[in-house]
Amino acid sequence: MIWYVVRRILAILPISLGVSLLVFGMMHLVPGDPAIVIVGPNHTPETLAKVRQDLGLTLPLYVQYARWLSRAIRGDLGNSIHLHRPVLPEVLGRFHSSLLLVVSSFALAIPLGILVGVQAAVFRGSTIERLLMAPTMVGISLPPFYLGMLLIIVFSVKLHWLPAGGMFTVTEEPTIPDILIHLILPAVALAGAPFTVVARMMRASTLEVLRKDFIRTAQAKGLNSRVIIWRHVLKNAVIPVTSFIFLQIGYLLSAAALVEVVFSWPGVGSMMVQSILTRDLPLSQGCVILIALVYVIVNAASDVLQLALDPRIRYG
């Protein structure tokens, strides 16, 4: 088991190398001369020549990649074209806001999805099931940016309960309650789709477990139905869903871009969209690397966690 954990953690390295290849490739997918993209439209011939030499664009591709990678590993992702500052600190400076949003959405969507899925299965065929599952029918077809704008219309424009955007009130010193109030709507908008997926899978998985013999045994020996559901059914029903639960983090990390734009949330996603619109390639690359690496690490962590959760899994 320990070897599996070690192997899984070591597997991060080749995957990260793949990520770096793709991000390096972005520079060469650019139509035209990458050097012109890097220096931007307002350049002198001298700066252009200097950037060409810095990037080593005349060298063979694998040499260029090796140079780029060795710089990237040391944290040098180049300078942003429009901010004229190193990319890495800029991206990291936005990271905590994105993380706050993603973690809140995750904490909202997963327990709620599990709860709704289990209850829907327990009350199978009743009005309660239909009421519980109705939102999941809708949720899968509702784009997160539209859900976000609907929330703004209802809770900000009509009811004036919650702020429509930003991370804190600009005129005041940011406080935790203020940030939390600004967090509610974007977190709900982002949580919609993962909630739907988890609730549906949990319902199917719970129905499966409810048919098992050991549940009948538990009922036969007169166990309280609450104990049966929350101790025996839930534990067994969650296990097959865990891998999907962690897949949701990948969705949250990237769909955060859409929600961040709707709510003017100062995260990595909205920075990335901005960098694409302004053709700031180094900044885009920085955002991609950060999001992809977090995803790779989360995936490895989820595999290890699954191993800890399910004693039946024995890896060679």
């Binding site: 995957i15 793949g18 990520v19 290849l21 793709l22 991000v23 490739g25 972005m26 520079m27 997918l29 650019v30 139509p31 029918m137 809708v138 899968i140 077809s141 509702l142 784009p143 940016f145 539209y146 704008m149 609907l150 703004i152 219309i153 424009v157 429509a164 990948g250 969705y251 990390l253 990237s254 769909a255 871009a257 859409l258 734009v261 709707v262 990335m272 969209v273 960098s275 694409i276 619109l277 053709r279 390639l281 885009s284 690359q285 991609v288 999001i291 992809a292 995803y295 790779v296 995936n299």
Partner: protein, 300 residues
């Protein structure tokens, strides 16, 4: 033992009468699935309406009239109201449907066009090609899919065509994997071995023996995928990375209307609701088709 084997033989749908009865029962199952049927009907209706929109006598979706901007739904001559430039929202919503349906379908077909042959060849031939294809899809799947689309748009630049290509590429691994898996399960079936024995060439086997077996899967994968891709392309357009204003595309209509959300929320509600309604019904229709083709597959 023997008895059981005999009775099982009798259950096989050999006679045309039994097959017909099975077909009827699957038709009945569809009729019972009222929700799925309603979804499929709605989708067909929307497609008809959207493609007939030039002949419905609606105002030009691009014609601006600032004297009547931001009128609410129910205004005479503009049943769904007007947007910030006084453009008719009903007309724009219908024209937007053209773009969204076309983009979802084209991106899906592009992904199928690359993914299905790759998956077929990779699964049938195996060997080094198979492992190269699989490692490449592994790498692409190591990215969250929206991020991958953003990577491609970041490199190639914003625009309708690049967004289409980006969304299509992110979906290629899905088709490769699904098709490869199915090919692996059928490649040692007698009908394929018979083709090999008859001396058919590999391209011929792929085309004449394997591809027809994949068609039901491709159909279902296509239908369930279109709705998904409509969400993705409209998302890119919403971010300003796909269709550009003033094109009446639902995602970019949402982006344009966002500024007026406080004073005229219908400018945002209408295009968003159009996306939702279409994708919702496409999902219902996709589920229906899946059930239907499952029945047929069992009979094969």
């Amino acid at each position: 033992m023997v008895e059981r084997a005999v009775s099982r033989r009798e259950n096989l749908p050999k006679s045309p009468i039994v097959a017909k009865a099975r077909f009827r029962s699957s038709l009945r199952r569809i009729a019972r699935d009222g929700v799925g049927l309603a979804g499929a009907t709605f989708v067909l209706l929307v497609i008809a309406l959207v493609f007939l929109s030039p002949f419905l006598g609606l105002p030009d979706p691009l014609a601006q009239d600032l004297t009547i901007n931001l009128r609410p739904p129910g205004t005479s001559g503009h049943p769904l109201g007007t947007d910030q430039y006084g453009r008719d929202l009903l007309s724009r919503a219908l024209w937007g449907g053209r773009f969204s349906i076309a983009m979802g379908a084209i991106a899906s077909l592009m992904a199928i066009g690359v993914g299905v042959p790759l998956g077929m060849v990779s699964g049938y031939l195996g060997g080094r090609l198979d492992s190269i294809v699989m490692r490449t899809t592994d790498l692409l799947l190591a990215f969250p899919y929206i991020l991958l689309a953003l990577v491609i748009v970041a490199a190639r630049g914003p625009g309708l065509f690049n967004a289409l290509v980006a969304v299509a590429i992110t979906n290629v691994p899905f088709f490769v994997r699904v098709m490869r898996g199915i090919v692996l399960t059928i490649r040692h079936q007698p009908f394929i071995e018979a083709s090999i024995a008859l001396g058919a060439t590999t391209p011929r086997i792929l085309r004449r023996a394997i591809l027809p077996s994949l068609l039901p899967y491709i159909t279902v994968a296509f239908t369930t995928n279109v709705g998904w891709l409509i969400l993705e392309t409209s998302g890119l357009s919403f971010l300003g990375l796909g269709a550009q204003p003033p094109l009446p595309e639902w995602g970019s209509m949402l982006a344009e209307g966002r500024t007026y959300i406080g004073i005229a929320p219908h400018v945002v509600i209408i295009p968003g609701f159009a996306i939702f309604l279409l994708v919702f019904n496409l999902n219902l229709a996709g589920d229906l088709l899946r059930d239907l083709l499952d029945v047929e597959l069992k009979e094969n």
